[in-house]
């Protein structure tokens, strides 16, 4: 079966700065793929390119195709994109208020989302469907409330319900739980998992939390400096990382086995447009040599590989 989402050679630029470069990414039907990386690595720009919501001065090039949509999404006009969004494709952002209308009752918003895309025959059935949907996210009583009367976690549950309202083929979540505490996060993550499972929707999940990705995704792509540096099945990448950046990230996030001091990656993530040429990680990498001034070629298959001149040995597990 062909992929639900296929991104080929995606680059994102602003004026003379390249923010995202050469990103290849596919998500199969019903597949759950994670996109991880630190702040500024280009995760959100990648997602915004897919849904066609990049800011005015930011431009995407390359190819983005979605199953069931006959045209290329990059460069598609807003009229066509708005038809795709909310029907085949839905997105949940970190800040739920970006997706909610503060002056409209929650129930009306969910009903309207269904009406716009004509997935229900009329107002009455839209309201019924909305009640049902809110009930399923445990907020049956919230039909008549306004967004500001709800907590951050409750709002995000509504946004998840809205995003799933039209059974999208692909759901993209961009750090949907980063601002929430662990118990509320657990609830939202479960809601997303149950939602995509029931609809057989594919999921592209963006986060900087490795444990969250490992809990919900089957495959993961690691981004740094606007590039995908490693990709593969979660169990492989998180137990036998090959790219030195992935290795560093895993060590730094391991609160379980570290003793008093945590291993860290030296230095800071450079600002946009200030990453080195060649391997984007070489200025912070203990293994870098002159060779790393050249862009490392992708080793392996598109679905499972890495781009590093001095990778960690293949067999030795670094994360017991």
């Amino acid at each position: 079966m062909s992929d639900v989402l296929s991104v080929q050679g995606l680059s994102v630029t602003v004026r003379d700065k390249t923010l995202v470069q050469d990103v290849d990414l596919t998500v199969g039907p019903g597949e759950r793929v994670g996109l991880i990386g630190e702040s500024g690595s280009g995760k959100s720009l990648t997602a915004l390119s897919v849904i066609g919501l990049l800011p005015e001065d930011v431009h995407a090039a390359g190819s983005v195709r979605l199953a069931g949509v006959s045209h290329e999404l990059i460069g598609a006009d807003e009229r066509r994109m708005s038809r795709v969004r909310g029907l085949q494709l839905a997105m949940v952002f970190q800040e739920p208020m970006t997706a909610l209308n503060p002056t409209m009752r929650v129930g009306d918003q969910v009903a309207e989302a269904m009406l716009i895309h004509r997935t229900v025959p009329g107002r009455r059935s839209a309201r019924l469907a909305a009640t049902e949907l809110l009930d399923r996210v445990g907020l049956a009583g919230a039909m008549k409330t306004y967004p500001h009367q709800l907590s951050g976690g409750q709002r995000q549950r509504i946004v998840v319900a809205l995003a799933l309202a039209n059974d999208p083929a692909l759901l993209i979540c961009d750090e949907p739980t980063t601002a929430l505490d662990v118990t509320v996060q657990a609830m939202i993550l479960d809601l997303i998992m149950q939602g995509v499972a029931a609809r057989e929707s594919a999921l592209l999940f963006i986060t900087h939390d490795l444990a969250v990705v490992a809990t919900i995704c089957q495959r993961v792509l690691v981004m740094y400096g606007g590039r995908v540096v490693e990709a593969g099945p979660v169990g492989e990448v998180f137990t036998r990382p090959r790219h030195r950046y992935t290795q560093g990230l895993l060590a730094a996030s391991d609160l379980e086995s570290a003793d008093a001091r945590l291993p860290t990656i030296p230095g800071n993530v450079p600002a946009a447009g200030q990453f080195p040429s060649g391997c984007v990680f070489r200025t912070r990498c203990a293994h870098a040599t002159e060779l790393c001034a050249e862009v490392p070629p992708w080793e392996g298959t598109p679905a499972h590989g890495f781009a590093c001149h001095h990778p960690a040995p293949a067999m030795e597990p670094t994360h017991a």
């Binding site: 662990v182 118990t183 996060q185 998992m193 900087h208 444990a211 490992a214 809990t215 609160l255």
Partner: protein, 277 residues
């Protein structure tokens, strides 16, 4: 037992909530409902709990930035519960705070060196350039960082700046309210190491608040678990994390996604296990 550095006895804090109706009396939020705890000198004490459980309220009362409705707070042997501001000078010097969001707690129009020297100036001490450079160095920033403005730094660097500012008056107690919750994993590791090192080197007493018990476990010796304005469990962090006794703590622990558990097949339903339906 020596006199604890911080002693909180049966503290409550009620906030009036804005009236929702002309007919009904204004409802009250019971943010703290009888909290007691003791922190010993040199201890690393953690407070964990969900959003809204009263963690920040408790910290503000310990720092005398807010007042208890009832109960008593004793810091370094002095009862501060009703002490007027003019008699809190010792507290303002000995106890310093670091907050979650470094951007909103740093004045964007001030240069970093002035931000760091501010607590000294407020207390009427001269702030030498030497001391500022020393503080920048202590938190791993280069001396020229002092000439720049907060927006020219990354999130992790800004948190270093707020830590440097907190250390300026040479406090004995450092209170950190979710200091790494807004940071990336690799930056989080750097800031946690920094706090750990400083607490050791400067012999600080640390009170560290987080909603994530796995972070508290890494930093603190002892932890108090808060739920809805009450402490439901206290103990050595390793023990509370491994064998939580209160149902609320169990729910809190099982909600933490960890790599080993995820790789062993834990699902989102497992995270919710222990949660009331």
């Amino acid at each position: 037992m020596p006199e604890p550095v911080i002693r909180v006895v049966d503290v409550t804090r009620d906030y009036p909530r804005p009236r929702t109706s002309l007919l009904k009396p204004a409802p009250t939020v019971h943010a703290l409902r009888g909290v007691s705890l003791e922190v010993q000198a040199g201890e690393r004490f953690g407070i964990v709990g969900e959003s809204g459980c009263g963690k920040s309220t408790l910290l503000r009362i310990i720092a005398a930035l807010d007042r208890a409705t009832s109960g008593q707070v004793v810091v370094e042997g002095t009862d501060i519960t009703r002490l007027p501001e003019r008699r809190l000078k010792f507290l303002r010097e000995n106890l310093q705070l670091v907050f979650q969001d470094p951007m909103s707690s740093l004045d964007p129009r001030m240069r970093v060196r002035d931000i760091i020297a501010e607590p000294l100036v407020v207390q009427g001490h001269p702030a030498s350039g030497e001391r500022v450079r020393e503080l920048l160095d202590a938190v791993g920033l280069s001396p020229d960082a002092g000439d720049r403005y907060p927006h020219q730094f990354s999130g992790g660097q800004r948190q270093r700046i707020s830590i440097a500012r907190a250390l300026a008056p040479r406090p004995r107690i450092l209170i950190a309210d979710e200091p790494v919750s807004a940071l990336d994993v690799s930056v989080r590791a750097q800031v946690l190491n920094l706090i750990s090192d400083l607490v050791d080197e400067l012999n600080l007493t640390l009170v560290f608040v987080s909603h994530d018990l796995s972070i508290i476990k890494h930093v603190c010796d002892r932890v108090a678990v808060m739920n809805a304005g009450e402490i439901v469990e206290t103990g050595p962090t390793g023990q509370v994390y491994a064998t939580p006794t209160h149902p609320y703590t169990r729910r809190l622990v099982s909600a933490i996604p960890t790599l080993p558990r995820a790789l062993a097949g834990a699902t989102t339903s497992d995270l919710l296990r222990g949660a009331p339906e």
